[in-house]
């Protein structure tokens, strides 16, 4: 499951909560700006073993029905999923 992104994103001083705390269960900002290579899944090779899900340090790999999804809003492009995939179903492609 992808993390929820909050509909309302604070943009001004008045939007900021009093303490460093928001209502739980939401993320406020996307965080993938420094990724310079993105993992791309070849669905014809993937058998859904979820090894990449177990290894992903940022928890951005999720299962949607019987398919694997990658959350590019939070993937930092480390490439561990690509290295760990025994079927070579994930390729790193340079961000343009």
């Amino acid at each position: 499951m992808k993390p929820y992104l909050r509909d309302f994103v604070p943009t001004s001083y008045d939007d900021i909560p009093k303490a460093t705390a928001y209502e739980a269960g939401y993320l406020v900002t996307k965080n993938a700006g420094w990724r310079n290579a993105r993992p791309v899944l070849d669905e014809t090779k993937c058998i859904g073993c979820l090894n990449c899900y177990l290894y992903c340090p940022d928890g951005v790999i999720f299962r949607e029905d019987s398919k694997i999804g990658i959350d590019y809003d939070f993937c930092k492009g480390c490439g561990i999923c690509s290295k760990i995939c025994k079927l070579k179903a994930i390729k790193m492609e340079a961000e343009k």
């Binding site: 001083y13 900021i16 460093t20 705390a21 209502e23 993320l27 965080n31």
Partner: protein, 390 residues
């Protein structure tokens, strides 16, 4: 109220017991050890119902206190010197998280060379960490500060951690007669800690997240406003304190014989007792001298300093710290206060007491003598040479 013969550390521990913290996490370090030992005895004998957590380091001590505070508990820790520096990563964390933890810091020198005696380089190096910083001058004030610190830190307009500083050995280890209030009085003064800034199963919250370049300034500005709010809450706390305990403190500063003073010495902590005596002696000889004691360094008493010294011919700062490569940090701050108030008064800096070196009455008299020359210099006490190279 009962009179007891207590050291500064013990007095502070009695004050903390009266504040009834729910969690105490600390690691012993000279010269703070006794406050931690005393509190552990209170927990052991049942006179304080708190979770006493022995941690493996100061970094853990403050992390643990943050954890306690983040579930809404009143939390206390204490440290000194190297311990405070080891904790340093967690200091802005607690301040930014708006966790109103109270910490006692026994002011002690920092290595190298290794030294266990008192100066104020430890806490002053952490002025920018977002904590309120107060400096007690005697054991009674230490106890009273322990009680008031929770009131000020936990006030909803402040929500800022509080560092109460006691001079190592000179204050932590010397004994005085101290009025110890009753539990009923303390309870009347200090309300229970209530906050929304906590983990709550009914209202789960996302604490300690990141805030990028777009919103980070807003959080830091709000944090700044919180510590500035302490300004008026300190006064509120002291007024409330006076009504219940009969002792009225004087806010961010305390001035002594400054009204008509030509020459004013600004200092902080227990040293002010000695300066006060020198002021009395010099006054008898006809010199118009006075003392301004800074009780708080954060928030900084800009306006109080300007108002007190505005008619003086010269001022000096006597401080137990040095920002290497520049000057004493208190001096930098005092000069900023003078500048903002458009006061053109000569100001000098005297750096003394490093590593616990004694500061004598004679040295303080020399400072007052030199003030008459109305210069702006930076000097190390006991070395003689001026240090502002330009």
């Amino acid at each position: 109220m009962a009179k007891k013969f207590l050291s500064g550390n013990e007095a502070f521990a009695y004050g903390v017991r009266l504040a009834r913290p729910q969690v105490i996490s600390a690691y012993p370090i000279t010269p703070q050890t006794i406050v931690v030992e005393k509190l552990s005895e209170f927990v052991e004998d049942g006179s304080l119902n708190a979770e006493f957590i022995h941690v493996e380091s100061e970094h853990s001590a403050l992390s643990c206190a943050m954890g306690a505070s983040s579930v809404g508990a009143r939390a206390f820790t204490a440290t000194s010197s190297q311990g405070l520096l080891y904790m340093a990563e967690c200091l802005p964390y607690a301040a930014g998280g708006r966790f109103p933890i109270v910490m006692m810091n026994a002011n002690r020198s920092t290595a190298l060379p290794w030294n266990i005696y008192g100066d104020q380089r430890d806490s002053i190096s952490q002025l920018d960490s977002g904590w309120i910083q107060a400096y007690a001058c005697n054991a009674q004030e230490a106890l009273d500060l322990a009680l008031m610190s929770f009131y000020i830190a936990e006030h909803k307009d402040v929500s800022t951690p509080f560092m109460a500083n006691l001079d190592g050995f000179v204050l932590t280890h010397t004994y005085e007669v101290v009025d110890v209030p009753t539990a009923e009085q303390a309870d009347a003064f200090l309300p229970k800690y209530q906050t929304d800034n906590k983990m709550d199963l009914q209202k789960p919250r996302n604490l300690a997240f990141s805030a990028g370049p777009d919103t980070n300034t807003y959080f830091k500005y709000r944090e700044h406003l919180g510590i500035l709010n302490a300004y008026k809450i300190i006064d509120e706390a002291e007024e409330r304190f006076a009504k219940i305990f009969g002792r009225r403190y004087t806010g961010l500063t305390e001035s002594y014989r400054t009204e008509d003073a030509d020459y004013i010495l600004i200092t902080l902590g227990s040293l002010s007792g000695l300066v006060r005596e020198v002021v009395d002696e010099l006054r008898k000889e006809g010199s118009r001298v006075g003392l301004l004691r800074l009780r708080y360094l954060r928030p900084f008493p800009n306006e109080e300093i300007a108002a007190t010294v505005k008619n003086a011919k010269a001022v000096a700062v006597l401080e137990k710290d040095i920002s290497f490569g520049n000057e004493g940090t208190v001096y930098t701050n005092v000069n900023s206060a003078l500048q903002k108030a458009k006061l053109r008064i000569p100001s000098s800096d005297y750096i003394g007491g490093l590593g616990g070196r004694n500061i004598s009455k004679e040295e303080i008299k020399i400072i007052f003598d030199e003030l008459e020359q109305q210069q702006s210099t930076v000097k190390f006490l006991g070395i003689g040479g001026e240090t502002n190279g330009n």
